[in-house]
């Protein structure tokens, strides 16, 4: 009998075939990485264990289905405001996490649901944040772009601002001498921001343990990279900072590059920059159908030839690392997890009105907050 799974992304699947039937680990050729100011890059092969493969598969599938469910809920007007979906880019979030640990730090921009998950958030609390309920990861106070977990600093709405913030986190790592590093992500649109160049400068001067990662999904909102950037070689834009250009659709490529980058940082060499070439299936946000500035054919082509989940699935099946049934069970389990989360997210109550003025200041006495009229008395608590 096949057992059904519940629980977190790292679970293993039991199946009617014994483990001895499957290949416990296999080595794959991965695409060569383009190098900037580096003599050597990450290895040209990656070894994947069955356990890792199932974990990456499940996590990517969870992100995929979570984002698609968010799409659905948005169209039903249960999610409102901003909603920037990550489907297509799953290999980036999952691969990066595979190359660092949860005691390392990470910060990204607004396309952040996938990272909130890989950094320890649950689908339940992510979805409930999108629907603005009290069970949300930020208690409904933040919304799509402002989700936080331990060592994950959001979710940031202002394009580019997260990059110096990430360098500040890296400075703290160095200051405290804890051998941790900070991964600081930004998109191809943000890559032209002045503050990012200011951050390249200071990070290099002070040899901060920071991995800059440009998720190049070819479009900054509706502007293609050719129309926004005089140089589209984002991995070289750090100039004096060594850079790597990596296939962001291959979770193993991303993982190996991240491991390489993390080693570089932890050995005290200072910052390093990775460009992940990736693609988003959805438009920029839910208000963008995503086809006025690119063709449906292009989207279809990426889906059929480069889908990160399919790529991993094919690798595992063709190397006998898992069975089709096993992966289907994972799919079913993920679907259930998403459904349960959506159920919670749509039924959990909204935050109490008392929360209106809470969390303005940390560790402070309660104080009066000016309401819409002078006669209403509101109090803020920490």
């Amino acid at each position: 009998r096949v057992l059904e799974l519940t629980g977190c992304a790292a679970s293993m699947v039991a199946s009617s075939r014994s483990y001895a039937d499957f290949t416990p680990e296999a080595t794959f050729d991965i695409k060569k990485v383009d190098l900037h100011r580096l003599e050597e890059g990450p290895p040209l092969t990656a070894t994947l264990t069955r356990e890792e493969g199932l974990k990456y598969y499940r996590t990517m599938q969870t992100i995929r289905r979570m984002e698609l469910k968010a799409d659905q809920l948005y169209k039903q007007k249960i999610i409102r405001g901003f909603c920037h979906l990550y489907d297509g880019q799953e290999a980036c979030a999952v691969g990066i996490e595979g190359g660092i640990t949860l005691s390392d730090h990470l910060i990204t921009a607004y396309r952040a649901h996938g990272y909130t998950l890989t950094r320890g958030g649950t689908v339940r609390e992510i979805m409930a944040e999108l629907t603005g309920r009290r069970g949300g990861i930020a208690k409904g106070k933040g919304g799509s772009m402002h989700m936080y977990t331990k060592n994950f600093y959001g979710g940031n709405g202002i394009v580019g601002a997260q990059v110096p913030l990430g360098a500040g986190v890296a400075l703290a790592c160095k200051y405290l001498g804890n051998d941790q590093l900070c991964v600081s992500l930004y998109g191809d649109g943000a890559a032209n921001q002045g503050q990012i160049f200011e951050t390249y400068n200071m990070s290099s001067l002070w040899k901060l343990p920071i991995i800059f990662i440009c998720e190049n999904n070819q479009y900054g909102m509706g502007t293609s990279v050719e129309r926004s950037s005089a140089s589209t070689e984002y991995y070289k834009r750090g100039d004096y900072i060594p850079g790597l250009r990596v296939d962001g659709m291959d979770v193993l490529c991303v993982r190996e590059a991240t491991k390489f980058a993390a080693d570089h940082c932890r050995s005290g060499k200072g910052p390093i920059l990775m460009e992940l070439q990736t693609y988003r299936y959805h438009g920029h946000s839910m208000s963008d159908p995503g086809v006025s500035y690119r063709t449906r054919e292009e989207i279809q082509e990426v889906r059929s030839k480069s889908d990160p989940i399919s790529m991993l699935k094919d690798r595992m099946l063709s190397n006998n690392m898992a069975s089709i049934e096993e992966l289907k069970e994972i799919d079913i389990a993920v679907r259930k997890e998403i459904e349960d989360a959506a159920q919670f997210a749509t039924t959990d109550p909204e935050p109490p009105l008392d929360d209106l003025c809470s969390h303005i200041f940390a560790n402070d006495q309660p104080f009066e907050v000016r309401a819409a009229t002078p006669w209403t008395k509101l109090t803020s608590t920490s």
């Binding site: 402002h146 959001g154 110096p164 360098a167 500040g168 200051y175 503050q195 400068n201 940390a362």
Partner: protein, 359 residues
């Protein structure tokens, strides 16, 4: 009511709020400290007290500070804790906020608050709002400090007062010290506060000495953020001010006292949260209000004070409309004669008091 000499403004009746003892006759031994040194000592003591505190900004280390406020700190604490930055405000303010996210307690200096406009997104969107957006998961214990407002001969781009801009934003605490006791107590309080504090200094006050009592010189002397101080008691009219203008108010009060007008001078000390209770209590006593600030009038600190007084119980005690004395509503000119006429002068305060009192 004894009028206070220029020198001893903070010494005689000032009592540190932390200690509940009352001074009756002779104050404890006073030492003379100028505002610059008060800030320097406060930072030194807080750097020593808590390893997580560090200072970054342009010229704060090897130059000893553009205005010498951080003199000697780099020599004492070294590169790790006193960090010279390149001229990249947006970048280093963001780095400072990120360091605060990760558990350090940065003091981020802007050489003047005019340059904070380059970094204002980090102050507001990354620092001020994060604790709220994260529903309390991510506090931001950071101090942004630097000289604010007009100086002497530095012209329009270097003379703006930012009290109103930052005072507008929830999630920030905004303080504006006047004298050395304010500078010392408020900076210590700001550094110990777990929230983003905008600390507005004044360049022209840096060199001004004040007597500080033994109590004020204690290592744990802090002034609570959000409490104004009545610097001079009076019965006829309330003058509310912050920063350098507090001194002008006291000077105006001395002159007016000779004509029998007793002004009550309130030193705001904190712009946000505004101590409305102290203002209202004073206005309810005197029935008349003049606010005095260096910044521009439109949507300014004085405008907020007047609005609050209108909306609260003190309105019924006003015998005349409340009035604001402000900087002139122009970019700051360079020529001395023009500059002198761009800022509130003592005669403007006296004139306004007399108008409000219908003298």
């Amino acid at each position: 009511m004894a009028s206070l000499g220029c020198f001893l403004r903070s010494g005689k009746n000032a009592v540190s709020v932390v200690l509940r003892r009352e001074f009756s006759k002779t104050p404890p031994a006073a030492v003379q400290v100028n505002v610059r040194d008060a800030l320097n000592q406060a930072m030194d003591e807080e750097l020593e007290r808590d390893e997580r505190v560090f200072l970054l900004g342009e010229e704060v280390a090897q130059y000893d500070g553009a205005y010498k406020v951080s003199r000697g700190l780099w020599k004492k604490y070294g590169d790790k804790r006193i960090i010279d930055t390149p001229i990249t405000e947006m970048g280093f303010a963001g780095i400072a906020v990120g360091a605060a996210f990760a558990g350090l307690r940065p003091i981020c200096e802007f050489m003047t608050w005019n340059f904070s406009m380059q970094a204002i997104d980090q102050v507001i969107n990354s620092a001020a709002k994060t604790y709220y957006m994260s529903a309390g998961a991510q506090p931001v214990p950071i101090v942004f400090r630097g000289p604010n407002g007009s100086s002497a001969g530095v012209a329009a781009q270097h003379s703006q007062c930012f009290a109103a801009w930052y005072g507008h934003c929830p999630g920030l605490k905004v303080v504006s010290p006047w004298n050395s006791e304010d500078a010392r107590g408020l900076l210590k309080a700001a550094i110990r506060d777990d929230n983003p504090v905008v600390f507005l200094e004044n360049e022209l006050m840096y060199g001004v000495p004040f007597d500080l009592s033994e109590d004020v010189m204690q290592k744990d002397f802090v002034i609570p953020i959000g409490k104004a101080k009545v610097e001079r008691r009076g019965t006829h009219i309330t003058l509310v001010s912050h920063s350098r203008c507090v001194g002008f108010c006291l000077d105006a009060a001395s002159v007016l006292a000779k004509e029998g007008v007793e002004c009550e001078v309130v030193n705001l000390r904190t712009i946000r949260p505004l101590d409305v209770d102290t203002i209202e209590a004073s206005v309810m006593k005197t029935g008349h209000l003049v606010t005095v600030e260096g910044g521009w009038p439109q949507y300014g600190v004085g405008a907020e004070i007047c609005a609050r007084v209108m909306e609260g119980p003190a309105f019924n005690y006003l015998d005349a409309p409340a009035v604001r004395v402000t900087g002139v509503d122009i970019p700051m000119p360079y020529a001395k004669i023009l500059e002198d006429h761009s800022v509130p002068q003592i005669k403007d305060i006296i004139f306004s008091v007399k108008k409000v009192l219908n003298m």
